[in-house]
Every structure is written in C-alpha cells, then in structure tokens.
C-alpha cells in the first residue's frame, strides 16, 4: 500500500508539473495580452488565433539562441544557477490541495502531491532557497550590474521572506495547523456574524495578514513595483544581464512559475482554495488564482518602481511592525476565544 500511494503521488506530481509548465507558458501570453490592453496596444496576435501559439514560438526562439558564457564568469556556477532557480520554482505547488480525494479504478487518488504537516513552512523554505539561483547567477556573471542586482535581490528576499512568514502566523494561530489541508478544512466552515453567514475564509478574519501577504508575495517574486533586482532602467536586466538563450528563459520562467504558485497559495490560504459558493472544485481555485495573476499584471501596468532604500524601509519600518501587531491581536483574540483571558 505504501508503494501504491507513492506511485499515485508521483503520477499526480507529474501531471501537476506538466500542467504548471503549460500554465506558465500561457501566463506569459496572458500577461502580454492584458498588459497590451491596458496600454492601448494589441499584444501578440499574429502567431495562431489570438496569438495563442506565441509562447511556443518564443520557446523555440530561445532554444535556438546561442548560450553565451562571459569570459570572466565563474563558469560552473554561472551554468548551474538558472537551473537552480527553475527547478525550485514549481516545488511549492506540491503541497497545494487541488480537490478532494478522487476515486478512480478503485484507487484513492488524493488531488495533491504531498500532504506535509509543515506545508506552510515548506513553501517558505523553498522561497528562501530559491534566492540562491538569483544571487549565484548575479555573482557568477562577473558583471557589476548583475552583482548589484544580486545584492538587491538578496536583501529584498530576506526582508520580505520575514514579512511573508510573519503575515501567515495569524492564519496559523486561527487554524492551529501548518498543514494546508487542515487550513483549507478550517475555511470550509461557516462564519456567523449576526444575521450574516459567511464562509470562514481567512481574508475575512485576517484582512491585514492578507494585505501583508499580498505585498510581500509581490516583492518575493520580484514583480513590479518591487522588481528592483531586474530593474531594466537602472540595472539593464539585473542579475540575468549576462544570460542568453535558454538559461535566460529559465530565470524568466521561474519568475512566472513563482507567480502562479504564490497565487495558488494565496487563494488556498486566504480565499478558501477549492471552496466556492456552488460546486466546490478545482475551478474555484483557478478563478481565484487567475484573479491574483491579473492583479500582478495590473500592478505592473500601473505603478512606478520603488527605490532600494524605500523598499527596505517599507519592509522593516511598516510591514514588519504591522505583521507583529497582527500576530499579537490574533493571539489575544484566540486566547480570549478559548477562555484563557
């Protein structure tokens, strides 16, 4: 039975990985189309209907490009760093529940790859290791723009990782578990507020944490307005200035996978994941995640970029105290709720 579970897990993981890679390719299409619409442009529309074949054309183009290693690069690290970034990105999706257990051919197929009881911490750990792809790539390029990009990125990811983690503590206090499945189960209850009966989604009970999580997640994925590590108007392309061909696209794709994973996570943690008003299922998760992805693109179209010191100031002087406040308040409410006060 152990073996059977393992094999089912592998199969689900394999399917999920492929779906994720396909989604990521179409995320680039989605972003370009939405961004174009927001900017009075058309966006890619020549390759296939509505430009739907554009990601494939891009992929072929990038594969066919020369893979250049600069003369003064740290060769081995330079070659490995983008792989590290790309390989770590989809792992976060492994703990996100996509639905209830499926019964097929007499086998129970849980619609998530791994039900880890420290799932939230696992995602945070992935985020903190993921920075190595950026920092090593920036260091190994032997370019000062890359180095500055890597330095910015390191400082940014460490700071916002902290905010991200602390913003989740409120949710963890309420749910009493680090497992995403448990958190999801807690959210499927209903929240009775006088005459109103609402779903127990944590966005309602933890609005501050949700806002903090959203801000920190945008910063963690290096997206506008926190895209300083790759700020093209300052650092040319930041840590991947020297990369070309498919190694460049590894960084690029890792960013998009991270966006998708973070969106799924946000939907699961705060919006009840697969829970919906009618017909619970994976489509609700997709709709919620799509909303976050749209939000990402929207931000990019609207906001200017922060400056490095302002970014750090925001994390340490505004978001961190707010996160601590949120923890304290949630803790007090929780203690009061169980009658300890």
């Amino acid at each position: 039975m152990e073996w059977q579970r393992l094999i089912v897990s592998y199969i689900v993981g394999f399917v999920l990985l492929n779906v994720l890679l396909g989604l990521m390719a179409y995320m680039t299409w989605f972003e370009r189309r939405v961004l174009a619409r927001m900017q009075h442009r058309v966006g890619p529309n020549r390759t296939g209907p509505f430009g739907l074949l554009q990601p494939i054309a891009d992929g072929i183009k990038l594969l066919a490009k020369e893979d250049i290693v600069p003369a003064n690069a740290d060769r081995l690290v330079f070659l490995v760093a983008p792989l590290l970034s790309f390989a770590l990105a989809p792992l976060g999706a492994a703990v996100i529940p996509f639905g209830d257990t499926l019964h097929l051919f007499g086998i129970d197929i849980p619609l998530l790859v791994a039900d880890i009881n420290v799932a939230v911490l696992y995602v945070l750990a992935l985020g903190s290791v993921g920075v190595y792809g950026i920092i090593l790539g920036g260091y190994a390029s032997g370019n000062r723009y890359s180095l500055l990009g890597a330095l910015r990125s390191t400082a940014q990811v460490i700071s916002y990782e902290l905010v991200l983690g602390l913003s989740l503590v409120g949710v963890l206090i309420l749910s009493g578990s680090l497992s995403l499945q448990d958190i999801l189960r807690e959210q499927q209850r209903s929240l009775v507020l006088g005459p109103l009966t609402l779903p127990n989604w944590y966005i309602l009970s933890q609005p501050l944490a949700f806002a903090l999580f959203l801000i920190a997640a945008v910063a963690e994925t290096n997206r506008a307005p926190f895209d300083l590590p790759e700020a093209e108007t300052e650092l040319v392309a930041g840590y991947f200035t020297e990369y070309s061909g498919f190694r460049f696209s590894f960084y690029f794709l890792a960013e998009y996978i991270n966006m998708i994973v973070v969106s799924l996570l946000a939907a699961t943690l705060f919006l009840g994941g697969i829970d919906g008003p009618i017909a619970d299922g994976v489509w609700w998760l997709a709709i919620k995640a799509l909303f976050f992805l749209f939000f990402y693109v929207w931000l990019r179209a609207t906001l200017p970029r922060f400056r490095y010191d302002q970014l750090m100031g925001l994390a340490w002087k505004v978001l961190l105290p707010l996160a601590l406040l949120n923890i304290a308040l949630t803790g007090l409410v929780r203690l009061w709720g169980i009658g300890a006060l």
């Binding site: 500055l148 307005p225 200017p304």
Partner: protein, 409 residues
Amino acid sequence: MIDFSQPTPVILSEVRQISPTRRELVLNMGPQHPSTHGVLRVRLTLEGETVIACDPVIGYLHRGVEKLGESHRYAQFVPWTDRTDYVAAPSNNLGYVLAVEKLCGIQAPERAQYWRMIMAELTRIASHLVWLGTHALDIGALSVSLYTFRDRELILDIFEKFCGARLTTNMMEIGGFSREIPPDLPEMVREFCRYFPKAIRQYEDLLTENPIWLARTKGVGVIEPEVAINYGLTGACLRGSGVNYDVRKAMPYLLYDRIDFEVPLGTHGDVYDRYLVRIEEMRQSIRIIEQCLDQVPTDGPLMAYESQYVIPPHKNVMTTAEDMQRHFIWVIKGFSPPKGEVYHAVEHSKGELGYYIVSDGSPIPYRLRIRSPDFVNLQSLPYMAQGAMLADIVALIGTIDIVLGSVDR
C-alpha cells in the same frame, strides 16, 4: 545685481571631492543602457547604492552640426537643425530662422508668425510628452509612456498635414512659409486642443498623487535657485527651482507679447517640481494655441516678400522674369546677409535655445554656434547626483530632459 567689473574668482573644483575608499564600485552606465536616453555615458562611483561621484561623458553622437553650418548656405542649414534635438524639430527650425531673419533684418508676416507660434507650442507639447513618457518609464511606470506616445501621434499627424514630415520636419523657412496652410488644419488643431486636457488628466491620475511616484521624485535632485543660476540652467530645470526666466516673457519674440499665458514656477526645485512645471507648461501651451487660433488671420501673406533673402512665391517664379531670376540665384548661389553677428534665442521645450551667427557677407556663415539648452542643463547632473541612490540617477537624467542629438550636436 552681478557686478562684472569686479574680478570673480572661479574655483576649479574637482567633481570628486571624497577620498577613495576600497568599498567603492565604479559603474559605467551607458552609452548603451536602457535609460540614458540615447548615448549618454555616465561614470558612477558607488558606495553600496549611494552615488559618490557622477561623471557624464558626452560626445557619442557628435556629428559636428555647428561646423556643418559653416559649410552650408543659410537656407540649407535648416534641415540640420532638425537633427539636433530630434524630438522638437520645429522649435529648432524656429530658433535658426529667427536668428537669420534678425541678421537680415526681415520679418515674417503676422499670419506666418501666428502659425509659427502654434507649431512651436505643439512641438513643446510633443517634446514634453516624450519627456514624460520616458521619465515615467525610467522610474518604472510602464503605461504612461504608451499613453503619451499615443497622444504625441496626434501632434505628429498635425505636423504631417502641415509640412509633410513627422519627425525631422524642416518646417520653418526663412521669411515665413512658402506654402499655404491646409484648409482643415485649424480645425484639426482645435480638435487636439479640445482632446488634450483630458489626456493630461489621465497622466496626472497615474502619477501626480501616486505615493510611489511622490516617494521617488519629492526631495530628489534638489537644485537651489542660486545653484541653478550659477550652472546656467534654463527651461523647466531653472523654473522648477523657482527662478522666473522664460524667453517668451523676458525677451518676447514672434507675437508672444499679445498672448495671455502664465509661466509655472516650482517651489522646491526637486524632480517632482520639474514634473509639475512641465505638466503645467503643457496646459499653458494649449492656452497659447487656442488664443493663436482665435487671433490668426484666415488669409493674407505667409511669406515676407520683396526681399532678396527669401524664396519668391512659386506662382511668381513661373510667371515673372524677375522672380525667376531671383529664385535661380537664391537656390544656386544662396543669399548674402549683411556683415555682422547675431544671437537669437527661443524658449525651446528644454530651455533657452540660442543660435549665434557671424556673417562675413558671404552666402555661408562665418561662424555658427548653437546654445543647446540640454547641453547646459546636463552640467547639473553631477551636482544633483552626489549622495543620491543609484536608482535616482535615472530619475535625474530623466528630469533634465536631454536629447543626445542636441547635447552632442
């Protein structure tokens, strides 16, 4: 008052006053860099992300335009002025033809002067739109640049209607305009004037109250008014610091003294003030254009006539022997202005654009010198950059509003 009779000590200080430490990082920004607006190269000395020294290196687009002017006949040089500040070509044309007209002692007819003003103000708006778009793009606001370029297209359409070209217009001629104004052009310009205030509101909605935009521009790149005067800044860089100097008001040319408009002055001298000043300048330009359209005569001559210095009207060339001969000489030999020297400045979108011409009585200028505003304004970059963050550098380059074709000439 400045007493120039007193000897003024000029202290040649080095840009870099800080003793080098090992923590410094020299970063070479440009000439190929996304936000140096062409081929500006800036050599930055950084300590962490703080700029210790900033050293602009120019000349990558130097084509010797001034020297070219000294080997072309007077009328032949007009297209070259297009290629100095190529985002505001009509204003460059205007500065040059006004200088030549001053040298020759001729004046364009009233109707031509009004249309020159309309075109110059449209140019100011077009140039400010390019500035706003690229400046916002440098600071990271992606969409503004596309909106501004969308609206700039309308102005370029007007230029195209008027003279057939969109970018390097070669629009102004010595003595006025030799071709008739297209009949539907006034309505086209009016239509633009009706539309454009809405567009400005759109940009302002995206930027003016945006907290990130405020954080990135307020208090950044402050130039005190005394310093601005000392550096010889003009245009929005000077007025952003609150110094009231606008060539249109101080030394009115064309018919600007008949127009009711206001000169916006900043109160803090930072990047944000220069942004506000330029936005307000666009509004004032619309005001000027509307007044010009109201005042301009619908018919009448467009070209100064009875002069050896201007090209004779086409109809007369075809029908009269005198004008045919004058046309032949004008085209083949060029005209010879009187001996003397002349300086004429116009309020270009970037500041005071002056043309200094020395004539030795031959058809070719003895000396031609362009005082391009952004060349002078660029000097203030090291001053503003000291102690700024790396990310501020792009904001500072943007706020000066340089076009390298004009800086390097």
